[in-house]
Symmetry: C2
Subunit: 161 residues, 2 copies
């Protein structure tokens, strides 16, 4: 039935907007977030350029740039079918996982930065602050290590031997 199909499309459309905002907040341009959200929700889970463009009602350049960034981040890739020049873009779940891990591992930076601060401050006589900063540094280190361990454990469980 056509109305049911339309209902679904409208539901997807609103979900895409909602999720798009989320991905936007993790550093992407609005349209980039929406492309990612659409690829998560479209059925089948791969979509050609013009389907994306049509669904999002955006310009070719906007869609092209969004796909380029998502691809270069490893979040999206594409498949092709013989006798068909189109690329069918889709979520790259492995790349996404790697990306998530990479972002988590980047947490160590704050720890390093804090160590530098502590080194700079070490001959200041303001020991209370030094101790408090140290607490933050220790927390940060504790968490980085813990997260690293969680990731390693997960990897161990999920390697195909």
């Amino acid at each position: 039935m056509i109305t049911d199909e339309g209902d679904r499309t409208e539901r997807i459309r609103s979900k895409v907007e909602q999720m798009g905002v989320f991905f936007e907040r993790s550093g992407f341009a609005p349209i980039t977030g929406r492309v990612f959200a659409y690829l998560l929700l479209c059925d089948p889970p791969h979509s050609d350029f013009f389907a994306i463009q049509g669904f999002l009602r955006a310009s070719k350049s906007a869609v092209s740039n969004a796909l380029t960034t998502l691809t270069s981040e490893g979040l999206v890739d594409y498949i092709t079918f013989s006798g068909n020049r189109r690329r069918y873009f889709r979520i790259n779940t492995n790349g996404w996982l790697d990306n998530l891990k990479k972002r988590l591992r980047r947490m160590t930076v704050l720890g390093e930065l804090l160590d530098e601060v502590l080194r700079e401050r070490c001959n200041s006589n303001c020991s209370t602050f030094h101790r408090d900063l140290n607490t933050v540094a220790v927390f940060q280190n504790y968490l980085s290590k813990g997260i690293e361990q969680l990731i390693d454990e997960w990897d161990k469980k999920n390697t195909t031997n």
Copy 2:
């Protein structure tokens, strides 16, 4: 010696810029990041409005707005001294810790979002993708839980009984 003092100031200045970029990348305006970095490095570790303004060579409004955002995020607070109208701004280490925890806990959002996607896709017949997405969701959930546990453990160790 004056040159040594100047050297230190220049070293701090360059560290402030470098760290400022880091904090900027976690979502703050450039000047906001630099204010935070300066408060981490200045000695004593509290500084009045005009010292901050002078060091960063920025406008009053910029400094004021930066301090407002940092304060409202709980990352900075201030102390006062009797007979002195000025506020002395400083890093709020406890607030900072809370803020870090809060940000880490916000990781659950992606998991919830993915659950929603999976629910939407459940009657699609594309099981491979469904399984792959599920892996991401499980990973995300596993990590959220793990991090939550790490934080709880840390809190337990660091509560003053």
